[in-house]
Symmetry: C2
Subunit: 480 residues, 2 copies
């Protein structure tokens, strides 16, 4: 392992020492100044070569994207915007990069579109934008773990392959080992999954919540952080077929405590990014400003990226019942002037993205937690309120993103849950273990799910969710 | 959220304060002493009730597994083995647990077999053993993240659904959305995956390594930590169809640096468990002693659980070439007396579990890193040594577990890699992106994979891998 990475060298207080550093060439100006990057930071280390001391054949190979090793003396930099630089005494080209190869153009100073970069997902990570996004993603992921561990939660790995398709949160991917063309059939002529690997039909999980509940009812506080899947044909900038989800679940928490947890958690991880990704966020903020220059003024963000993150930290999330929200929406200008695509006519309507964004961005101008939704537009496991028509559900709505968190207090009463399952045609035999939790030592408990990529999008200001995950899976796309 | 959990209350220095605590009843002795557990620790909090102050109807419901809330005064405990207890002034039963229900017998003080508990994986987490294992698992997972983040690694989410089946590390599970019984066929009569969700055949990943390499060659140091899958019909105590893997990958690291990293990393996480899971490891150590009493003396562990962990910390891992190992094995007693199932005849033999265990447990009596394996028994991507017949592969072998880490320096030379792929029939078109890494700024790099469940097994002393993951997936088993 190299002694020091560039991020460490740039912080060096000790100069006039010999160092060796390895990385990739970002630029080579005047046959003299190499900007070297090793991925440890968005910044480059300036390596100054005296071309008279090096063979031309070697310097020719110092092209954008080439891997090199330099040894030299670390000195205070003469140039602007950098603290130290290396006076190179030895230079080795480890791996060349043919400057004429068309793929390498994505590394050129000329900005390429995010769409073009997406087609070269194995190389786009070498650009400043994706380096910044993925370093920030990594830091955010760690902040998630640190928050929960500090607060006494146990990380729980819920299963990825599931034999249960009962939650009905969306279409699922089938996992199978049977002959794809001629699957074995049973006497009724249907596919005989008894001959499959798991001896039953299995799918990829859409949520680890139900299993997390089994652990919360023993360990008290748990969270999951793992991949989840939706086989939905949604080609939008907000949907992936494979994405990472965070699902805390806490015994004895009611909905109020659940809201407190969601707000505290989000503020922690956003603050962690502000404190630990300063250089990357600065770059991403400027990238966003640049990108928005091409947009009509009305579509530009009101706040700069880091202002927006700071705003989240400094404001209480406004807590509003669904019923209040419907009143506000019914009386709103876009509703009355029929500017909404879906006009809000009456209580019970499912809120669309346009309504959520109106509430957050126009009406309240701050993050909003909507709660107590109509029972019939929400999942079977949410706790029924005494009014008999609303459930203890909550959604956290963010500016620019819409729903970032969905959660609820869970129905902990056996009879009420069983009745709900019957009404909603949920197979109670298959979910016997979920019902067991209500038979043996049941108690109030709550939790929520947060789509990690939405959080990364919000924090980095990236408009398309495909640009915040290394290898996005979407309809028709499972490259690499 | 409740104010304080039991693990916090047990550390209280302030007594004679009123507290409220919620949890599940572990026992209720003499109609007076409730042992309450909330999952935050393996320990219970003693709650002392004066039965004259409570209705008999309520006390009757204080049975094993019931959820209760108690309010009372925290006082220094009179009893042994506990620092504080609660003098209960108020007791509420939140959720009853019918003591006659057969499922609840797994919570009874009478020890049940791990096999029986496995059938009730949603309830087994309420037992001391599984509470201890899963809390330790959570802490180990955090130690993994903390180690890498402290050392400048970026966490990378490699894809779970993969369109590439080129690595050939094992049989894969197919992921599909086509009609299972009557899939569409193309003009050649084969299944037409162009009509599938991803418009190609897709599988569950067996390893994130190749994608991690693409990120290491830009960000320098990366690691993955995610689920991986093997559709192998292995019904052993060491195999799962779904398991979590950790795969660091580091640009500019050679094999020596890779060994240093593996050793340093393992020592860090094991030490983290010793420091942060003291109560759970104490319990698990005693559990193991108890379990081994039923074994013949020769099969019992030579060291107690925590001694074994300490031993790992205090000893250098012995680094031995494959060639040296073969010499040792050929001359060994079990080989000469034909006690091995597979007799080692000559250089080139693939080592079996029995050989690895002999080297670790009998010969060296310490963790061993074997390296420089024959090229033809290892993967295509491992770097060829100058001898032309061995590759820069390494396996870390642990007592009781066998292989816990497998890794290598990667073949960074384009021509050598291409030749190897041709020889081994790896589709170079499909892996064009992997070859690209050798075209543009290639450099020495190395990494390894560690099966997280093997690490949890080693740390907790659990004999069967199905008992260290919440919901194990094995042939014929995808319950819950």
């Amino acid at each position: 392992m190299q002694d020091k990475t560039i991020v460490e060298l740039l912080k060096s207080e000790k100069t006039h020492v010999d160092v060796t550093v390895r990385g990739w060439v970002r630029s080579f100006r005047s046959n003299r100044f190499i900007a070297l990057n090793d991925g440890s930071t968005i910044k480059t280390l300036q390596c100054v070569v005296d071309f008279e001391n090096f063979e031309e054949e070697i310097l020719k190979k110092v092209t954008i994207g080439a891997a090199i090793e330099v040894t030299g003396t670390l000195v205070e930099s003469q140039g602007q915007g950098q603290t130290v630089e290396i006076q190179v005494s030895k230079l080795t080209v480890l791996g060349e990069a043919n400057p004429e190869d068309v793929k390498l153009t994505i590394l050129s100073p000329k900005r390429h579109s995010l769409e073009t970069l997406r087609e070269q997902a194995h190389l786009r990570i070498r650009t400043n934008t994706f380096g910044a996004v993925m370093r920030t993603r990594s830091k955010l992921a760690f902040a998630v773990h640190e928050y929960f561990q500090k607060n006494g939660f146990n990380y729980m790995h819920s299963p990825i392959i599931t034999g249960s398709d009962a939650e009905g949160a969306g279409e699922m991917f089938r996992v199978s080992n049977l002959d794809a063309k001629n699957p074995p059939l049973d006497e009724n002529g249907t596919v005989n999954y008894k001959e499959d690997f798991f001896e039953k039909e299995t799918n990829l999980t859409v949520s680890g919540q139900l299993e997390a509940e089994t652990y919360a009812m023993a360990l008290g506080k748990v969270y999951t952080f793992g991949p989840t899947f939706r086989a939905e044909n949604s080609n939008t900038s907000r949907h992936l077929a494979e994405f990472w989800m965070i699902e805390p679940e806490v015994a004895f928490n009611d909905l109020d405590a659940n809201m407190d947890l969601a707000e505290d958690f989000i503020k922690y991880v956003v603050n962690y990014a502000l404190e630990n990704c300063a250089d990357d966020l600065e770059f991403l903020e400027n990238r966003l400003l640049e990108e928005e220059k091409n947009k009509p003024e009305a579509e530009r963000s009101e706040m700069k990226l880091r202002e927006k993150l700071q705003f989240i930290l400094e404001n209480n999330f406004k807590r509003v019942t669904y019923t209040e929200a419907i009143d506000i929406l019914k009386r709103s200008k876009p509703n009355q002037k029929k500017k909404f695509k879906y006009i809000i006519e009456e209580w019970g309507a499912d809120l669309q993205s346009e309504h959520e964004r109106f509430l957050v961005e126009k009406h309240f101008k701050c993050p909003v937690i909507l709660f107590d939704y109509p029972a019939n537009i929400k999942s079977f496991y949410m706790r029924l309120n005494d009014d008999g028509k609303t459930v203890r559900a909550m959604d956290v709505l963010f500016p620019g993103i819409g729903e970032i968190v969905g959660g609820s207090e869970r129905e902990e009463r056996y009879d009420v849950l069983l009745q709900k399952m019957k009404t909603m045609n949920i197979d109670e035999k298959e979910l016997y273990w979920y019902l067991d939790l209500r038979k043996f030592g049941t108690a109030t408990h709550s939790g929520f799910g947060l789509g990690f990529e939405r959080l990364v999008q919000f924090t980095t200001g990236m408009g398309n969710i495909r640009d915040v995950i290394p290898y996005p899976r979407t309809p028709g796309n499972a490259e690499f």
